[in-house]
């Protein structure tokens, strides 16, 4: 599990996000997509959030442009989780989406294995890597990051 919990949930899930709304993290060569329904809020990074998982470091992201560091607070079943990134963020609504499994063959277990298990094919042409909490948790663990309760195993967090 991941470091970065900022407290248990006391509020219902946000309702502003539709099923085709995604927070896109614009990285090269392939952008990442995060279902907007899990996003509680996006903040500028600040000192009072001291338990944040550095997404850029964890996933080896190369931002399309370097922007101000921001913190994405996610709402999970077990609490909120904060992820920081300097990659540009954009909220996008797609007309059509399709989740496609990435063949496990492509990943090299010698180099940490899968960084994601799924692609999001949006509007029949755009492709995004999909965040997966199990994968993030595994990566965080391998990099020696302290883990605290983020989600129960198998939760469709991201």
């Amino acid at each position: 599990m991941l470091q970065g919990a900022v407290g248990p949930n006391t509020k219902p899930a946000p309702t502003f996000a539709g099923a085709r709304d995604y927070l896109v993290i614009e990285t090269e060569p392939t952008a990442w997509a995060l279902a907007a329904s899990y996003v509680q809020t996006v903040l500028l990074a600040s000192a009072w959030i001291d338990s944040v998982l550095n997404l850029d470091l964890l996933l080896g992201l190369s931002p399309t442009t370097r922007s101000t560091e921001r913190v994405i607070v996610l709402r999970t079943n077990a609490g909120n989780c904060a992820l920081s990134t300097r990659s540009p963020l954009r909220l996008r609504t797609f007309e059509s989406i399709d989740h496609v499994a990435i063949p496990a063959l492509v990943f090299d277990p010698r180099f940490g294995g899968a960084t994601t298990k799924q692609l999001l094919l949006a509007d029949n042409e755009l492709a995004f890597l999909v965040f997966d909490v199990e994968v993030l948790s595994d990566l965080a663990g391998r990099q020696g990051l302290t883990t605290i309760g983020l989600s129960t195993p198998g939760d469709p967090l991201l």
């Binding site: 060569p29 392939t30 496609v100 990435i102 063949p103 492509v106 090299d108 692609l119």
Partner: protein, 144 residues
Amino acid sequence: MTILNDPLLMIGVQSQKLFVIARTVLEVHGEKSWIPIPGTRQELPGVVGWGRRAVALLDLARVFPGLRALAPGERRQRTLLLQVGESNLAVPADSVSSVLDIDTSAVRRRALTEFPLCRNEVHLEGAVLPLLDPTMLFALAGAE
């Protein structure tokens, strides 16, 4: 001893040619875009969307020494969809020949070529070209 009695296709990637067994080629398309994935094996840098599936992309330039690897956003003129056991592979190529009936005596156990994804090689008109065996990818990955 006859090693193989199958028609072959010759494919080209930059200056390098090699053969594939024609019956393993399910489809040949034109240029196809591909999606780079982080954390992959060197020779399989991403996937190609094929229908509603993602098919692993084999970049032969990352297997042959001295060739220029496919860069993100770059395409090759042809894309082959290969059947590899239960899986499929997408292989971008610069050229694809028609089906060739090769004299069976021309196909021999690998002895001269250093291409790692082959068990056999084809001796043809003074040249020795590898015969692609993509199942060796599974062996390298320990997945089969």
